[in-house]
Amino acid sequence: MFDLTGMTALVTGASGGIGSAIAQGLAAQGARLALSGSNVGKLEAFAATLGGDHAIVPCDLSDAAAVDALVPQAVEALGGKLDILVNNAGVTRDNLILRMKDEEWDQVIRVNLEAAFRLCRSAAKVMMKARFGRIVSITSVVGVTGNPGQANYCASKAGIIGMSKSLAQELASRGVTVNCVAPGFIRSAMTEALTDAQKDAINAKIPAGTMGEGADIAAAVAYLASKEAGYVTGQTLHVNGGMAMI
């Protein structure tokens, strides 16, 4: 089950914590990847650890023209087809709304939401023609629950969920599914920087009692990307140890 052999995937933010786990997960299931990110050195180092025949397609997601060119570049690098798009890349610019600068709002919406829209639009064209496609976007539990200090980030993540539901309805008859994965707290460089007291406070809110791992997110993405998930569309799969049941 969930074998991705012969399938190709574009993953954005592929050298990051969750992104690299997703790339590893898809590659382990047999997919051939186009790894995207802004730091070529990190992408190359990561691709070397992956082994296999994967492509690197760098992209600055705040540059609209570069984003519009990314799917065609990935299709070319992957031998003319794209089965799976994983919109994983995201940025935060946290601030209380009373202190939030226009640029902080704009940057987060542009990279997290607008880039995802542009990539979905390009990928939809390729996937509709092929009568098969899997779009999986990484949103966040806070896109549904909200979080103080993250109005921009939460808006971008909620926006991805709404956009995905619309796309799912537009593309369902063409064999293309569009879903989201919403991580809760996932162990990363960012969470490792927290104090033990802060970690304890977070864990106390998670019924599972601990933060998740990148591999937990990768497994959810691999499922939604598989042929077996063809009847699942417009959904958000929450992977959060039970901290929010929605």
Binding site: K125, M128, K129, E170, S173, R174
Partner: protein
């Protein structure tokens, strides 16, 4: 009947899965041939590929009948 018209009709028949005799030049994609808005997008993409022309969104929005498509493609060739 022109060669363009034949090729346009062939694409419409194949894509929409309709009977050839229904695909007259006056036939409306939506009202007569059962197409939805996504079918029109796909038809336009198929025309672009078949004829090597680019059909911008504002022109695509004006293509409502088989004849509209044939006329637009002829005007670009």
């Amino acid at each position: 009947m022109s060669e363009t018209a034949d090729r346009v009709k062939k694409i419409v028949i194949e894509h929409l899965g309709v009977e050839a005799d229904k695909v007259t030049e006056d036939a409306s994609f939506i009202d007569d041939l059962g197409a939805d808005s996504l079918d029109i997008v796909e038809l336009v993409m198929a025309f672009e590929e078949e004829f090597g022309v680019e059909i911008p969104d504002d022109a695509a929005e004006k293509i409502g009948t088989v004849k509209d498509a044939i006329d637009y493609i002829n005007s670009k060739q």
